[in-house]
Symmetry: C2
Subunit: 133 residues, 2 copies
Amino acid sequence: MLARWGEKQLTSAEIADSLVSNPVLVRRILGSLRVAGLVRSTEGRNGGWTLARPAKRITLYDAYAAVEDGPVLSRHPHPPSADCEVGRNIQSLLEVEFQDAERAMAERLGRTTIDDLVREVLAIERRLPARHR
Amino acid sequence: MLARWGEKQLTSAEIADSLVSNPVLVRRILGSLRVAGLVRSTEGRNGGWTLARPAKRITLYDAYAAVEDGPVLSRHPHPPSADCEVGRNIQSLLEVEFQDAERAMAERLGRTTIDDLVREVLAIERRLPARHR
DNA sequence: CCTAAATGTAACCACGATGGTGGCAGTAAG
DNA sequence: CTTACTGCCACCATCGTGGTTACATTTAGG
């Protein structure tokens, strides 16, 4: 949404409205994005949110990494018995595999930018003018 | 563990012991793996679990898919407002991106077999005999 | 035939993560 | 000085999950 409406600042209430959700929840997420340097907020009256850099330079991976903290593939918190040949080695071996797999996913997410999505949205809307309101 | 100990059937209690966990939980997971055709179980006295096919033909993706039901990248259950250009298109666009990203991860997981891991475990153990018990 | 050792499953609890809500302080515009 | 925002905390309800107990079922072995 921020990319689509360009320079205009959007408030968390407007965004929440469109998401059929709640301003606080929206601010929570946008807060994570701000910490990651993807969006900026201004306080006070007429405040709101904008992208911190051009949509062309924000990838899906950037957004994903900003919001998701832990890894996607769940490691077991609880190490197995060190008495077992397999047990005492499997965690570090799987760690490598999982990191590689996650890297592959991240790499793919990094190939699409927010700008790509906005362009696709506009292309679809141009193709189906009947759906306009 | 099943691959490492080859033909020998292991009981859920033995496995749970080594995992410092609980037989029922182990049976739950093994149950999913059985549904996926990766392991076999025999009931009754001297029962237990074995691989259903050679470890060389079981990949990490097989195990992952057997256990994980939903997709890793969370879609939003709750569709945004259709009144918004972005809202009414973003879900299907993201769906494509997410599926691609998940496919990339799955492809990477599919490159490693259980047998690969067992070989690595044995290699490490051979290299560090001091750690043996 | 009976017992012991397994799986198979359901019920249940405790815990943590998460969506959602309200409240309130801080800040900036008019 | 009021209004409209963000920022943040505390709280609740819900849900998924690990974990446990219990019990029915199956099979081997004395």
